[in-house]
């Protein structure tokens, strides 16, 4: 969806300000939010793209106006209520008012040391359409739902640099239409193709592009 989360190339946000001696978390609740998100992901409650899509659906002023982990927390509340894991009344009351939904797994302390990112590889559904060196054009698509094709790289001419195998497809997963595995490529664009003739001529930008985002050029 074309919301403010898709901010590559926007102007006006100012300088990048690094914080000196930045702590891992700025308040204890931030760590709890991160941990709950990871635990719910491990349990199989939702996928990472459901979490992303929930953030993308926050009102733009909220998205830009609240802190990073507050955004995570708001997205978690959305997924909990929309997917029937808890009611708004329960979150308001701060207590469960009934039993939970069954989940495939539960994260316990003994499993935490071995916790790593899950794999996103999936069984291929069809032949790989592009190979390194192929010229491609990204599609000019504007789905109202979750996509990982950023606006600045739509309808642009690029070159396939590498293929990373078949991965679950976020555009499908986020709207509960299953993994729909797709080939994933690194596609490189010249600066001027994206930003016009005034672009830094030494600039090259790549995106990770799922095959449905691409057509031969």
């Amino acid at each position: 969806m074309d919301s403010v989360h898709d901010m590559g190339g926007m102007d006006g946000f100012g300088k990048v300000e690094a914080e000196k001696d930045e702590p891992v978390f700025h308040a204890p609740w931030e760590g709890r939010v991160l941990a709950m998100q990871r635990a719910m992901g491990f349990a199989g409650a939702w996928h990472i793209d459901h979490a992303r899509f929930a953030q993308e659906r926050l009102p733009p002023l909220t998205y830009l106006g609240v802190s990073y982990y507050r955004r995570w927390e708001l997205a978690m509340e959305k997924n909990l209520t929309e997917r029937g894991f808890a009611s708004a009344a329960e979150l308001e009351a701060g207590h469960a008012q009934g039993p939970g939904k069954a989940l495939p797994r539960k994260l316990t302390t003994d499993l935490v040391p071995g916790l790593s990112r899950s794999t996103f590889y999936r069984q291929q559904q069809g032949p790989q359409r592009f190979k390194p060196g192929d010229r491609v054009r990204t599609k000019n698509i504007h789905p109202a739902t979750h996509t990982r094709l950023p606006r600045y790289a739509r309808g642009k001419l690029g070159t396939v640099e590498s293929c990373h195998g078949c991965h679950m497809y976020p555009d499908s997963v986020a709207i509960d239409r299953g993994d729909d595995p797709q080939w994933l490529y690194t596609v490189v664009f010249e600066g001027p193709e994206l930003w016009g003739p005034d672009s830094d001529p030494t600039l090259k930008i790549s995106i990770e592009a799922f095959e449905p985002y691409l057509e031969p050029a």
């Binding site: 300000e17 760590g31 709950m36 830009l64 802190s67 009351a93 939970g100 935490v112 990982r148 950023p150």
Partner: protein, 210 residues
């Protein structure tokens, strides 16, 4: 709600901090009572984030690549596998990619759409990496972003920006600083900053860190 909650609230009335502490505690209580999460496991995740994962893990990988040509080759061919052979790190997921800086090319990592970052080798991302200024500008004006970090590169160096739009994760292999011939891996790792592995910085100067 316990007395403890009310206590917090009275002392820090109305701030996002106290409101968030209350709200998140309520959320955790609901998820625990529903049987979805185990608070002790949450403690363990927070502790791992604060003490076990961090850029030191990536620095050791870089230092190994600087001293062991076979490892460097393996790292650039398949970073997931190469890092797994080092043994001291947790499994890094399946999709880690190392990209090499050379005199001709400088790499920079961003996630314009959210905050994708190679947690396993660099820890949690700093606030600036997740901020609108970085996410918006890195793909359009990376030299301007580098200037914000006090870094200037030669005008003819290619700048390659990697937007992390899928589950592949990137780590920059910076160039080994001159003047470090014969240094041990441990000593070299001290020169490898987090920002040098994101591409917004360079390794420390050996004369300053020796």
């Amino acid at each position: 709600m316990t007395d403890d909650h009310d206590h917090d609230d009275h002392h820090d009335h109305g701030s996002e901090l106290s409101e968030m502490q209350l709200r998140v505690r309520a959320l955790e209580t609901v998820l625990t009572e529903k049987g979805y999460v185990d608070p002790a496991a949450l403690d363990a995740i927070v502790e791992a984030c604060e003490t076990k994962i961090g850029p030191r893990n990536g620095a050791v990988v870089v230092a190994r690549a600087w001293t062991d040509p076979a490892f460097k080759q393996a790292l650039l061919a398949d970073a997931t596998k190469a890092v797994a052979t080092m043994g001291h790190l947790n499994r890094v997921g399946d999709h880690l990619i190392a990209v090499e800086n050379t005199p001709k090319r400088h790499n920079m990592i961003v996630c314009t759409l959210c905050s994708c970052y190679p947690w396993e080798v660099l820890g949690l991302p700093p606030v600036w990496y997740k901020s609108a200024p970085y996410r918006s500008r890195a793909v359009k004006d990376p030299r301007g972003v580098l200037a914000d970090f006090g870094v200037t590169l030669p005008k003819d160096t290619e700048i390659r920006v990697w937007d992390s739009t899928a589950e592949t994760r990137f780590i920059v292999l910076p160039m080994r600083p001159a003047g470090t011939e014969g240094w041990s891996e441990n000593r070299l790792a001290e020169l490898v900053t987090r920002d040098s592995m994101i591409g917004t910085g360079l390794p420390k100067n050996p004369s300053g860190a020796a």
